[in-house]
Amino acid sequence: MIYIIDHKDSFTHNIVHQFSLFDKEIECEDFNKVNYAKLNKADVIVFSPGPGAPKDYPVSSKIYKKYKCKKKIIGICLGFQQILFNENGKIVKQNKIYHGFQSLISVTNKKSLFSKHKTFKVGRYHSLKLQEPFYAKNFEVTMRCKISKVAMAIENKIDQIYGFQFHPESFLTENGNLLIKKILSA
């Protein structure tokens, strides 16, 4: 079962539909109404996109820390930042803001599940970004924006934690389903 924690975003149900392609059992609830009995049963926890910054969602941080290394964790946009924030990463404002922007990114790390140098178009909706350098045990930044070089994906194969700054569920993202499929089966 996949449990999606919704940060009251307007894109979350696209994620629900996308993950439904790969698992019949999906639960999706607001971050402030999490059902812990169900959450305990989940194999995968997904942190959804949402407005604001990771520090605005202490409940989600708590859940991340509690289930890290116990379940597969996937973060998208704000969820991606949520993971980084809890790994002592700094989330900062960026000069150029990307909302509804389609941009080219590429796989920059050979430790990625995806082949290095692969380039593709993705949909982005973020005001904030990861400040680098960033270092956390077992974490690798694996994808970057072709132009700005901003971190677009992190992978931690050992603890099974993955995150995307872009939106794999957006209609602007090429092969978004494939990305999710690969991560779910990793």
Binding site: K8, S10, H13, N14, H17, I97, H99, G100, S127, F171
Partner: protein, 404 residues
Amino acid sequence: MKRFMKKNYYLEKLYNSKKPFIAYKVNGGYDLFTDFSDKKYVNKKNILNFFNKFNKKNKKKKILDLYIGFFGYEILCNLNNIKIPKQKNINFPKSIFYKPETKIEIRKNIIIRSTHKNYNNLFGKSSFNTNKILTPFKINIDLNKYKKIFNKFSKKIKEGKTYQIKICTKYKNKSLIDPVTLFWKLMKTNAAPESFMIRDRNFSIVSCSPETLIEKKGQKIITKPIAGTLRKTQKTNIRKALFYFKNNIKETKEHNMIVDMERSDLSKVCIPGTVRLSQKKYVEEYKHLYHYVTKIEGKIKKNTKVRDIIIAMMPGGSVIGCPKISTLNLLNLQEKESRNIFTGSFGFIKFNGDMRFNIIIRAILNYKNISEIAVASGVVIDSNAKNEFNENYIKAKSLIDLYQ
């Protein structure tokens, strides 16, 4: 247009009476509804009860088995568990739905269907209505105030609290109006696909809304968000408009965001895998402008209730901003005056659960002899306060001009 105004004994009687009626644009003409046997003032307390009317399995299909009316903005917020702080309020009803007993289909010919045998004699006294302006239109937020709000919201965007937000401004005057002549005058210049008119005893609404929010028949549901407006000039045409939208980064980004948001709203009530863009990024041409539109459709999950669909889709995202809930909260903290009908929805729900709803924009609400026209335009990261302020004026102008 003439054929809609053509001499018809019944219609002339209707227009000249004081009898409440509703007109709704359909493909190839207009549907008029009247002889209301029920008028429901829907509010926070009775709305769920109201929705239950439509959940009964209704095998018999009758043409008049429907309620037609509107949801105001506030009740749609309430449905999403959003409270609105105290605002300046004219106490206009939050939502009204009518049960019609007579329907007049105005196409090439006029067909009247009624549950009353004597529908031809149900007019009451006739009256002569004229349009009279008592005070000129005034705006509630001037450019300076607008700039302040704009800067505040730009900051919220940089903080990621919202990605797109629409600032609403209102034009008001004191006037006596005859909504029927106003509506047909408007339809001559701008017969937008979601136009409608309500004439009731103590208020009227005249609108040339272009935007379809929900079209549901059986399991199929369609929404057609509009994001992107271009003014028509002698140099533009539909092909050039498409080129403009495609190459304008700001318009493209705004549009993308609305499309992803509406996909997500539909996904709440649709079977996974069925939500698709059936017509992606095309241009609709109107008398004075072009709109950038995407058509999205899906297949409704079994056992989905009318209530679930309304809550999932309303208020329509394209006129609010994104993400919807946090943006609604920001808007409600900012706005000092009730939106009333603006960015609510007008339409009908059939007893079998089928429905059609628009987004109420480009509308005149006349209540207590005050006409108000509300308009909104979007703040995204690269918009410019003065341009958006002016765009608001352009949107209101075609309605203000009706009073001349």
